[in-house]
């Protein structure tokens, strides 16, 4: 066995099939929405919404108002930062991105997000330096 034989499986391990870049994921949403605005995404991130039960929530309720910071769920579990600059795993798995949009949009807005909102949101977080 030489180094080559070792390197091939290592390479395969380090690049799972689903792996994409945040830019690729943004491009897909952008294409579906016909554009994306980081400024709109920023507004969306901080926007407060009152739920039917009277609770006032926003993305920042769990993610804090700093997308580079570690957040906390309502059950006090740590949430890794949203901004790719602070968390290299963020926006690299399209299925995971969709799953959490579906779930968290319902948590905060009591509805699913539109493609436009998703595009703007991802654009904003990518823009965070």
């Amino acid at each position: 066995m030489n180094l080559f034989h070792l390197a091939v499986p290592l390479l395969l391990l380090s690049t799972p099939a689903w792996s994409e870049t945040p830019q690729q994921i943004l491009a897909q949403y952008q294409q579906q929405a016909g554009g994306a605005s980081a400024a709109r995404g920023e507004k969306f991130f901080f926007a407060k919404n009152t739920l039917p039960n009277g609770e006032v929530v926003s993305c920042t309720s769990c993610h804090t108002d700093n997308p580079k910071a570690v957040g906390k769920t309502r059950a006090h579990k740590q949430v890794e930062p949203l901004a790719p600059v602070a968390n290299r795993e963020r926006f690299t798995d399209p299925a995971k991105v969709e799953k959490w949009f579906k779930r968290n949009c319902k948590d905060v807005l009591a509805r699913e997000c539109t493609v436009q909102e998703k595009a703007d949101f991802v654009a904003y977080l990518i823009s965070v330096k």
């Binding site: 039960n53 769920t73 309502r74 059950a75 006090h76 579990k77 779930r103 319902k106 948590d107």
Partner: protein, 173 residues
């Protein structure tokens, strides 16, 4: 019989071994540990918003009810695909407090839960109450604890299923 080196040796050995057994029966694992969540999907899906609680904390009927009402999970919609729901339910039921796989601790938890009830929070069971009755109300309010479901705030190795007393570290704030 005088004090000889041999007698001293026997005494020492007896002391060490009694201490060993005391320490073993007091501190160690068997009566405050659950097998950690060994099912990957359960660990991932249940563990993304809160600690992946050991299946042995609740009886099968509790898990069944919880998995049937994931769309209203403590005020959130945590629903999964039918396949994922079925796989996780199977794991939780197979390893529940009243399952064949239950250890002594889990059987004790199960026996404290009235039949005909299916508690959804372990923190509302008699067993939890009995074990936490000496924790004053003000400690529960500390920011780093925040919720009774936040086991790991004090039970430092809770995520691996261990709740033994000497691993408890109560945060100061």
């Amino acid at each position: 019989m005088g004090i000889t080196l041999k007698n001293l040796g026997i005494l020492l050995a007896a002391l060490i071994s009694s201490g060993f057994f005391l320490g073993y029966s007091w501190g160690s694992g068997s009566d405050a540990s659950f097998p950690p969540v060994s099912h990957k999907l359960t660990a991932e899906e249940c563990g993304s918003c809160h600690m992946a609680f050991p299946a042995g904390l609740l009886p099968a009927r509790s898990w069944q009810h919880m998995m049937n009402t994931l769309d209203r999970h403590f005020g959130e919609d945590a629903s999964l695909s039918p396949e994922e729901t079925a796989a996780i339910t199977r794991y939780l039921v197979d390893n529940a407090a009243d399952s064949r796989n239950a250890n002594l601790l889990m059987r004790r938890i199960a026996s404290g839960i009235p039949s005909g009830t299916a508690p959804q929070r372990f923190t509302e069971t008699r067993h939890f109450g009995y074990l936490h009755d000496e924790v004053p109300a003000n400690i529960w309010k500390r920011a780093k604890i925040g919720s009774r479901a936040n086991c790991v705030a004090c039970h430092t190795r809770a995520e691996s299923g261990s709740f033994i007393e000497r691993e408890i570290k109560i945060p100061k704030d």
